[in-house]
């Protein structure tokens, strides 16, 4: 079944498909978790921007196309179907940008968004701290008032992209609160090369520096780099969290493309008598379709935004299932972490698997998401974490 689009939307899909066919690199880029690969991905962002495809749903004034949510879903389908590279600007475009569009000033949007869209500034997320992961409100890094701005001190950790990125955004404790831990926080943006900022890359499971620790020692942030009202950072951050867990961070198109590749792999590689493996392939296909149709329902005014936690639980587990099944299908080649000339059908499944393993952990663990679903959607009592 295909979604019936209007002729204008069909034109949009065709335009995206044609552009991608002419521009997506023939050979895969190096991993964006390496210095070389990061640079290649940044160059790809520039190419995307030159075609005005880097942020299709943004207003044209910031480099977007002012397209609807449905058209963005369509673009994402085409993007992943074309085998285009992972987006190194994802944190900025998917998380900071919606926050700026909702809570930022006109000056901030005009200054920050175009440079983000072009890949000139790549953003890292600096939310987690050594003692504050999913319990974000327990963070300890501080922002202290000074002339014309704030001085940031403390430590952030697990900051995605921070090893090679330019700037970061995060939450800092700035005001004494009446005891409620999510009061008195300030949402601030800072340069990763600024004075008082030190970045230490941290290898993820495969050893690549996909994230980093950030040490802050009275790093100065001017007032213009605070998003929203100082002390009101929690409310500002929650719109970012919604984007992070919801459809906008991980669009259905990514999983549909992966499911297609999985079916192709199954047809090429699998023992047709292995019905257990066939069922797992089919199950992943069904779930990818469910997510795609869920996206259409959201675009039609359905459940979008109702509960990003539902979406996060769904895509993170689907992503893992897709990659686990692919590795099992690859048999003895399933343990190869990189391309090997003699391996059949090696299509980046291993790196995708490592990436997918993090899904149930980041953006608030899936356990926390289940609590949120149970308490906010099902109306179960808050209570015993046991």
């Amino acid at each position: 079944m295909d979604l019936d689009l209007t002729p204008a939307q069909e034109d949009f899909r065709a335009e995206a498909r044609a552009w991608l066919a002419g521009h997506v690199p023939r050979t895969p880029l190096a991993s964006l978790e390496t210095e070389e690969g990061f640079a290649e991905h940044r160059a790809w962002e520039r190419t995307l921007h030159a075609g005005r495809w880097s942020a299709v749903s943004w207003p044209a004034v910031y480099g977007g196309r002012g397209r609807s949510f449905l058209e963005w879903l369509v673009f994402e389908e085409e993007y992943w179907a074309a085998g285009a590279p992972a987006r190194v600007s994802q944190n900025g475009i998917g998380l900071l940008a919606p926050t700026l569009l909702e809570h930022g000033t006109q000056e901030q949007r005009a200054r920050i968004l175009p440079a983000m869209a072009s890949g000139e500034t790549v953003w890292a997320q600096a939310w987690s701290e050594p003692e504050a992961g999913s319990d974000l409100a327990s963070l300890r890094s501080v922002a202290v008032r000074t002339a014309g701005g704030w001085l940031l001190s403390g430590q952030k950790t697990w900051s995605s992209r921070a090893a090679f990125a330019d700037r970061a955004f995060g939450l800092f404790r700035s005001h004494a609160s009446a005891g409620r831990p999510h009061e008195g926080l300030t949402y601030a943006m800072f340069g990763l090369d600024a004075e008082g900022v030190r970045v230490r890359p941290v290898g993820r499971l495969d050893g690549r520096p996909a994230f980093a620790e950030i040490f802050l020692d009275e790093a100065f942030v001017p007032d213009r780099d605070v998003v929203g009202t100082p002390g009101d950072g929690w409310r500002v951050a929650m719109s970012t969290a919604g984007s992070e867990r919801g459809l906008t961070l991980r669009s259905p198109g990514r999983y549909v493309a992966a499911a297609r590749r999985l079916v192709a792999l199954w047809r090429a590689a699998a023992d047709p008598g292995d019905t257990a493996l066939r069922d797992r392939v089919a199950d992943a296909v069904v779930r990818a379709r469910a997510y795609q149709l869920y996206g259409y329902a959201c675009a039609a005014g359905g459940p979008r935004g109702a509960e990003p936690s539902l979406t996060k639980l769904f895509w993170s587990e689907l992503d893992l299932a897709l990659h686990e099944t692919a590795l099992d299908l690859l048999g003895p080649y399933g343990e190869l972490a990189g391309p090997a000339g003699d391996a059949p059908a090696h299509g980046g499944w291993a790196e995708g698997f490592v990436f997918a393993l993090a899904g149930p952990v980041y953006a608030g663990t899936n356990e926390i998401q289940r609590d949120i679903v149970a308490e906010r959607l099902l109306g179960l009592p808050k209570g015993r974490r046991a």
Binding site: M1, D2, L3, D4, V256, A259, R260, V263, W266, T275, R278, D279, V281, A282, D283, V285, V286, R287, A288, R289, A290, Y291, L293, Y294, Y296, A297, A299, A300, G301, G302, P303, L310, L313, F314, E367, Q369, R370, D371, V373, A374, E375, L377, L378, G379, L380, P381, K382, G383, R384, R385, A386
Partner: protein, 340 residues
Amino acid sequence: MRFALDDEQREFGRTLGRMLGASDTPAAVRAWARGDHGPGLALWERLARAGVFGLAVPEAFGGAGPLPVEATVAFTELGRHAVPGPVVETAAVSVLLARLAEAGRPVLAEAWLPRVCDGGARVTAALPGAPGGSPYALDADVCDGVFVAPGGPDDLFLATGHGPVQPSLDPARRLALPRCGAEPVAAGRAVREAARLAADWAAFAAAAQVLGVGLALLERTVGYVRQRKQFGVPVGAFQAVKHRLADVRVGLEFAGPLVHGAAVALAAGTPGAGAEVAAAKAAASDAAYAAARAALQLHGAIGYTAEYDLSLWLGKARALRSAWGTPAACRARTLDLFSL
């Protein structure tokens, strides 16, 4: 295409839900399971007046259909309220006869479908030759017409009787082997095609129905764990309980769009509709069965008793999982979803 319900469709669902909610369906289900069809048939008449049996019947034969999206709404409500009877099979027969009429053989459709729509005739089907079909006919003992397409030769029969009623895991589902005479009422390739489409419709309607069953199970279980206390707190305050129900909620949430997608594909008559239906059936069955397992576990022993109404939905979740396409058979068809 609008991938969302319009106001009229939503209001149809609300109206049906209100009517069923006021109808004491649990009592009708229990009576039906005992072979006392009276209260269930009274309910059947109200469903006919609400237009439920005309949703798969073309206007030419007195119906309003085919309206798969409205059928999604209706069958979800039927499942939510555990309505007994061959509701899915009625839709299947409607599609079967309408398709034969389209193929130039309108006699059966003219004779049966207007009466099916207004509740004047009750029909059921056994289509063992079609994908997902079973040799048993549901509720043959209360139907005026039992249509049978055994497969092999492309023949369609009207049963002349049936064997003993076999108990199902859902006591309200009464299964019997139909007995057919020697003469088919229709024959030829058109029968096979019509039976296939009818089976797809049955799988689709069963998917919507079992989704409603799952929603009811979740709703009742949430209500129970909010008020039932153990160790001095509501059971629903325990994280193990919350997480299980959150997973049930996720399963049902994402099965819904697949059922809606199957309806849209059936409405469009696309070649890939069978795969869409199969995906919906597999996902909705899994989600509802997970809801049933969670419901039983979280109700504790009370959930394991026949006296408690929860049992009416528990049995249905399991039985509908097998009816009109097992999860494995459905999964096998879904591998075509992204290649058509």
